[in-house]
Amino acid sequence: MALSLMEGNEAVAWGAFDAGCRFFAGYPITPATTIYNTMLSLLPPAGGVVMQGEDEIASLGYCLGASMAGAKVMTATSGPGISLYSEHISFAIASEIPVVIIDVQRLGPSTGYATKGADGDIQFLRWGNTGGCTGIVLSPVDVADCYTLTIQAFNLAEVYRCPVFVASSKEIGMTRESVDLAALERPALRERALQPEGQAYMPFRPAPGTEVPYFAPIGGEVISRQTSSMHGENGYMTPVPGEIQALVERLDRKLIDEVDKFSFYELYEEEGSETLLITYGVTSRAAKEACREMTAAGRPTSLLVLKTLWPVPQGLIKNLAAGYQQIAVVEANLGQYVREIRRILPDKPVEFFGVMDGKLISPAEIKEALHG
């Protein structure tokens, strides 16, 4: 085994590069800037494009144009930039434009503290768009996940034609660690389904047997029509209630009904445990230690680490939680994802522990919260 020293942000960039991303646009912001730096060293020598937006709105706008022209695209920012991305996130959801968005979260609210971490954007990433339809949010735990989940993010963006977020944090993105690159999981690459030749193109009609339309690049032979307006299958604006409802339901359904296919997680079950601890992100690392120590001390505690946060992997969580008396949720915020856990497990007591003070939640704090 040979190890490499890498921070999470570099691993995101390598994941994107290996996924075939050849277009990146971003605006400098701590703690995400090193993704931009790394993309700038990787893409141009490979003939790819890196652009520095005049602001975050432009960065994502460049990506949406490039994606519609057929490129695999990515941008990266932190919470204050996600705020500015909002109108283009809505566009990408409504108009089914594949894009990977990395949120290296920093301590909020507002501009917060640039060099401290938190998981404060988790509900924002789900609901920070007009209309309330969903995208996909993946959550890495460490540098290895930054690589693998970024590749997964590209695959999902391509297959489902939607924005896919990787909810990293300062504590993963800017933390260096040794990683065994040869052992990393490299998912097989997937590409968007292209309009078959010789058929009339309906830009928003789902391809047969799927909920996702074929893609025809702007600039290709077939004329491709894209719009942020409420549209029918033909890509023209529509006032027809039935067409509108069909579109918005499909936008949600194409992801929510398929989430079992991309519910990434780690499970550490301990025999005799009555409690299932659920967490995600960098907090999972403390939770792993806490559960190991509690189990060793005769209080076995099982752990579920969620790596797909949105759409909520309801089937997975319900299924795995079934055998437990109680659930505990730990997250680096004041209680965001616990709302989903309580919603889908109404019959179980769900305890919550969360801190958002700029420090990592420690194993000792988790043990204290669970057992006093």
Binding site: A2, F23, G53, G61, A69, R176, E177, S178, Q226
Partner: protein, 434 residues
């Protein structure tokens, strides 16, 4: 060859007398004169009446959010360089998208921007825009009397657009102007003044003649701007990247050395910005990895570049590391008061086995740890090198790392003259007995 690129599925629906309708037909003529097919053109538009242009043409189309059309256009053009990308926006989009207009002028990507300038927000009730004259009666009460109108041609010229034209919808040569603007290899800006009968001329007298008179009263501008001629952006981008060498894949560290002690080691380096603390942390991580240890390095610093604390928390361990908040360092390197102050909480937890390596004069909170002073200044080492030098100090004591591990880290991190300079600097480090 078709006799029009207008979209028979969606005929134009502008208000009777709207200047947009005339621009639309001139643009169609320009496309036909140039011999372009629908799939060789992309119309990019935003919100407002000008935002219908993409629908009324049978071409590639992207219609998006208010003021952002230039951003999509740039992404499209960088990926599909052969496409003729034409952006339409109104004076509303010009205002809300001002930053994008300036960026596009500075960048000089081969796009054509047509601003359909009718001095107000037509769709929403005739509110004032960035180009509304101060004397006009519009839907914003007295507010437009307070703001000076923007002249796009002056803005575009000042910010680097190489082709700028201020013109009227009603000029006989509008089609020629549009053709020239589209054919121009670089960013071209055409500010096309016209009448909004739905809103603006209900309260204001405006005719093709009065527009012509007002344009004539200004310094005319229509064509290439001599001072702004330069290489087109994408072509310049491709030239820049042609010579770039591919970056190497991430380096792998061969584990061939033996660490001085078994078990997990945690080290906190407490320094100040500018003290190369993060680099020292990286060296320590690489040193550990050269002895087969797993490593994490968690840094803490302020956003200020050369002020404030700079801290690196390292963990080296024979097993993979989960939680990496450094809780119990065996060695604390105390190089500056700022760093120590930020981590003052850890000192009370240090046990008698722990060691603090302190620069002279650094104020240490009470602890049970042993303290050794490193007078690196007296050894002729500059302050910016103290963090790195402290690793040599530790290596000479066989603490956490060995001299061989440090040398391996240096050789991975530095090359050539820099490597020699660091080695020379570290050669000055002497650990005195005691």
């Amino acid at each position: 060859m078709a006799d029009t690129l207008l979209n028979h599925e969606r005929p134009p629906i502008f208000c009777p007398g709207c200047s947009h309708d005339q621009v639309l037909r001139s643009l169609d003529k320009a496309f036909l004169n140039m011999g372009l097919a629908g799939n060789e053109i992309c119309m990019v538009s935003d919100i407002g009446c000008s935002g219908f242009f993409d629908v009324f043409f049978h071409t590639h189309a992207m219609h998006g959010v208010h003021g952002r059309a230039l951003t999509y256009a740039a992404g499209i053009k960088m990926v599909q360089p052969d496409l003729n990308v034409v952006v339409t926006m109104g004076d509303g989009g010009l205002g809300i998208g001002g930053a994008h207009v300036i960026a596009a002028c500075r960048r000089n990507l081969d796009l054509t921007l047509l601003v359909l300038n009718n001095y107000n927000f037509g769709m929403t009730g005739g509110q004032y825009s960035v180009s509304t004259p101060q004397e006009a009666q519009v839907g914003s009460g007295f507010l437009n009397r307070l703001d000076k109108p923007l002249d796009l041609a002056s803005l575009a010229t000042a910010t680097g657009a190489p082709y700028v034209c201020r013109c009227s919808t009603y000029q006989k040569d509008l089609t020629d102007i549009l053709e020239e603007a589209i054919a121009y290899e670089g960013f071209s800006v055409v500010d096309i003044h016209g009448i909004c009968p739905g809103r603006y001329t209900k309260l204001n007298k405006l005719t093709p003649q009065s527009i012509a008179d007002s344009l004539e009263a200004q310094e005319p501008i229509c064509g290439p701007v001599a001072a702004n001629q330069r290489e087109e952006y994408r072509s310049a981008y491709m030239r820049e990247i042609a010579a770039l060498a591919e970056p190497p894949r991430p380096r792998e560290v061969e584990a061939r050395l033996t660490p001085p002690s078994q078990g997990r080691q945690e080290v906190s380096i407490l320094g100040a910005a500018g003290g190369r603390v993060i680099t020292a942390g990286e060296l320590l991580a690489l040193a550990g990895m050269s002895a087969g240890l797993f490593a994490t390095q968690k840094n803490e610093y302020n956003v200020t570049v050369l002020r404030g604390p700079s801290i690196a928390d390292l963990i080296l361990a024979p097993e993979p590391i989960d939680y990496n908040g450094s809780v119990n360092p065996s060695v604390v390197v105390a190089l500056s008061d700022e760093g120590v102050e930020r981590r003052q909480g850890i000192f009370a937890q240090l046990d008698a086995e722990a060691l603090i390596l302190a620069a002279p004069g650094v104020e240490l909170p009470p602890s049970q740890a042993q303290v050794r002073t490193m007078d690196l200044k007296a050894m002729g080492i500059k302050k910016a090198d103290w963090a790195t030098a402290s690793l040599a100090f530790m290596a000479q004591m066989n603490l956490v790392l060995t001299p061989e591990m440090l040398m391996s880290a240096l050789e991975q991190r530095f090359k050539g003259k820099t490597l020699q300079a660091v080695k020379d600097m570290l050669g000055k480090v002497r650990v005195e007995e005691g």
